[in-house]
Symmetry: C2
């Protein structure tokens, strides 16, 4: 439970109250349930979770028994509820590896999207089956559900890339908040969240286009939206049936997703092209960034066998503190695969980038940084060591790259409220007010036909056509009448 | 000039620096030029101006020699640059009175908008001529312009209801920020600011509709948008010529207005229906609200002769501190003409309202409060004392009104940053970064035809039609060929 205190209460009285409540173990905090997604997604949600704990909230993570990054540190005050599933971490690993290789071999363009998604079909199927296991692991698990019911949660924070978090929230009767980087062609944000995306200047996800497009690019962008909408509409079909079955009434995945109180989007206007959005969308990109700690020497993370040709001035490490390295004053450039987390660390510290994107949003992310003048791209399939060297020389020696990276850094640092604080503020707001209904657009109550005013336009066109028809008829009738009278007069 | 300080500088060093700079009269502050609008609009901008002074900025107000509310207090640190004009305050007064009476007699509905604006034409003409005098008073005044050039301003803050502020900023080569409640049918926000407004759930200004509309209301709303667009497009014609003449190149009012770095909109989501907006729009409604100071007794502001029938428990005053009155714990309801400033004070203190709207945005404002369940409306043309009494009894005795007013109050108070601080933050941001170009949508670089993708849709339709045509032709040709071969075979 979250208590909203009367600010007129005297300080001493509040201190006494806190003391009593602490004694009776009823502390002034909220109860947050987390529905994460594994891999790099977890790194982002972990920061929010730590901040929630800092602010005295109880945090429980619902995680499957097979995870890559999500782990239950015994020293951490985070509670873990484990969802038993049949597959293993190695299955996820190989699935992701398969997807990365597929993506590198068939990097989609707006014109090859169709064949790309056909190739991706197998991966999507396997991911769907894994996801269904996680859903069933909670929703068909009466004991776990009962325990969660008793947990008295105030809010559920979900990464919607793993589907079903919203459904769990509905089952528990609590509001939910999303944290999300993107969905293909922003299909989910547009159709379920009702965010407008004019195809003329908002590039579709995975299109690698920018906000300034030629006519040809705008055609490609429109096709991107249409194709990805069509592909994901068919992908959603199975989820619609599952959601309807669980809720015991006909519904769709999108209808349930549309109930999210707040959408925390993991980008900001330093990275994003300015675009229309809605009051329940909050752009909190870079929430994981923090000042660098001092670093002893230059480093290189590398897990494989040490190459014989390695220079004496290059050191290999299994894992390095990337943020501290990027914040080091001697860091001149960042060679990155283009994940949003890494790009934001580079933006935060104002470091120009050489992007070698591989899959998912990475090619798009590098396209954004290129458009903002802070990065050069190297193609992973065709690159030679000379290409990489040239790219590095460009971003280091041409001052515009450093200038632009510094400009983006200034934008990231100069916000009224830091992204992590904004993210946590809105989660706490939802707890305090049991939702954020005042931010929910009425678009959710319209069909797509009504939303685009197609019925009104149709009606007005019919009215106009009728008016034109009637006026024409009247004119013709009058002309005929006049003609007849004329003839009659002539005859007379 | 605004200095961005290195935060690593030691505290003592900063203190020393400030001391030296203060001694040499070069203080760490910005130079802000204000382009206000008179009347209640001034009350709102005055608060921003006071906060800017608090934060050590120099503020200069450009005001015409005939004003109603804008006055140069000799004790105030605000500089006033007076624009000499030929008309007097009494002319403005009578013009506004004329407009109010016209509005009360011809309150526009979506279906009577046309005749209403025809009636309003005279007022618009007079207002246009007054406004042109203000513009000329600066732009043709070489001495004043030179003085402003020398002033070294960092930003201009303009209320665009008085046109030309943007033009002055352009002449001075400085960025500008708008503060605005609304324009009719949000014509300016949509066409010049590029904010999307789906007619299906975003009610047009002056329509008195809400975000939940029946089919008939959506038809009315669409007609409202179309009509007001058409009317204001013709009204803008004169301004387009004026702007082109001043800048010495063909331009439009809208193109210049579109250069605003930030649009500070004087509403928030407690008042506004959730709608799409853009990153350079900031909703700062209620920025003038503050906690109430204690009040001795119940009061009534009344300027005329004391009526003989007045009860002994009612006191008349020339002017009362409305905010303190609304914040008094014994205040049960607020009878208001529905101005945004007053409504926000009621929201801030959680007081339900009886609305008696007269003109401009007032009927709309009351429609918003009615839809949110915090107000009852009484028609000024038809009301009896009994109607007013019933309305008062309703909002006082039906608990839902107080509950809803309290809910809106909670939303107003529970923001990550207070509206006044947000407004000033973005003005300061524009000073620090010489603009806020990273928030400017690329929509500004598109024609309306491109913006709506009409060219792309046309192209795709032509492609589809051509494909269908070719396929049909091929089929027909094959059929004919087959038919001929068949006949030939038969004959053989």
């Amino acid at each position: 439970m979250v208590f909203v205190m009367d600010i007129t209460m005297s300080k001493k009285f509040v201190q006494l109250l806190v003391f009593i409540l602490t004694l009776t173990k009823i502390v002034l905090n909220g109860n947050v349930l987390i529905w994460p997604t594994d891999g790099s997604h977890w790194l982002n949600i972990e920061l929010i979770l730590e901040e929630l704990i800092q602010r005295n909230h109880n945090v429980t993570v619902l995680a499957s028994s097979a995870t890559l990054f999500i782990n239950s540190n015994p020293d951490s005050p985070v509670n873990f509820e484990v969802i038993p599933i049949s597959y293993k971490s190695s299955n996820i690993d190989s699935l992701i590896e398969h997807m990365i290789m597929l993506w590198i071999d068939h990097r989609p363009t707006p014109l090859t999207l169709w064949t790309f998604y056909k190739e991706l079909g197998k991966f999507l199927d396997a991911a769907f089956r894994m996801n269904i296991q996680i859903c069933d692991g909670v929703l068909n698990n009466t004991k776990l559900l009962a325990r969660l019911q008793e947990g008295g949660f105030d809010v559920l924070l979900a990464d919607p890339v793993t589907v079903c978090g919203d459904l769990v929230a509905l089952k528990l009767g609590i509001p939910f908040v999303y944290t999300l980087r993107f969905s293909p062609a922003s299909t989910v944000e547009r159709h379920c969240g009702k965010i407008p995306a004019p195809a003329s200047y908002v590039p579709a996800a995975l299109s690698e286009l920018t906000d300034h497009m030629t006519f040809g690019e705008r055609v490609k962008n429109t096709i991107s939206y249409l194709l990805q909408d069509y592909i994901f509409e068919s992908y959603w079909g199975e989820w619609n049936s599952y959601y309807s079955k669980v809720l015991g009434r006909p519904t769709t995945l999108c209808e349930v997703m549309g109930k999210a109180e707040i959408w925390l989007i993991r980008t900001y206007w330093d990275f994003e092209f300015p675009r229309p959005y809605l009051p329940n969308f909050e752009f909190v990109g870079g929430l994981h960034c923090k000042p660098a700690k001092p670093l002893p020497k230059v480093l290189w993370r590398y897990k494989g066998k040490k190459p014989a040709t390695l220079g004496a001035n290059t050191r290999l490490y299994d894992w390095i503190p990337q943020n501290d390295l990027l914040g080091h004053p001697k860091t001149k450039a960042f060679i990155t695969h283009g994940g949003t987390n890494g790009i934001y660390e580079a933006i935060y510290h104002g470091v120009p980038m050489v992007g070698v994107p591989m899959f998912a949003d990475q090619p798009d992310n590098i396209a954004h940084m290129k458009a903002k003048g802070a990065a050069v791209e190297v193609n992973i399939n065709t690159m030679t060591s000379e290409d990489l060297l040239n790219a590095l020389r460009t971003v280091i020696n041409e001052p515009s790259y450093k200038e632009n990276a510094t400009r983006l850094s200034r934008i990231q640092h100069d916000q009224p409220v830091k992204p992590l604080d904004r993210a946590v503020f809105w989660i706490e707001f939802v707890m305090r007010h049991k939702g954020a209904k005042h931010l929910r657009p009425a678009a959710h109550d319209l069909t797509w036909f009504q939303y685009h005013s197609f019925d009104v336009i149709g009606f007005l066109l019919v009215c106009a056509a009728t008016a034109i028809f009637l006026v024409t008829k009247c004119c013709l009738f009058s002309c005929q009448k006049l003609g007849k009278t004329g003839k009659k007069k002539k005859r007379e």
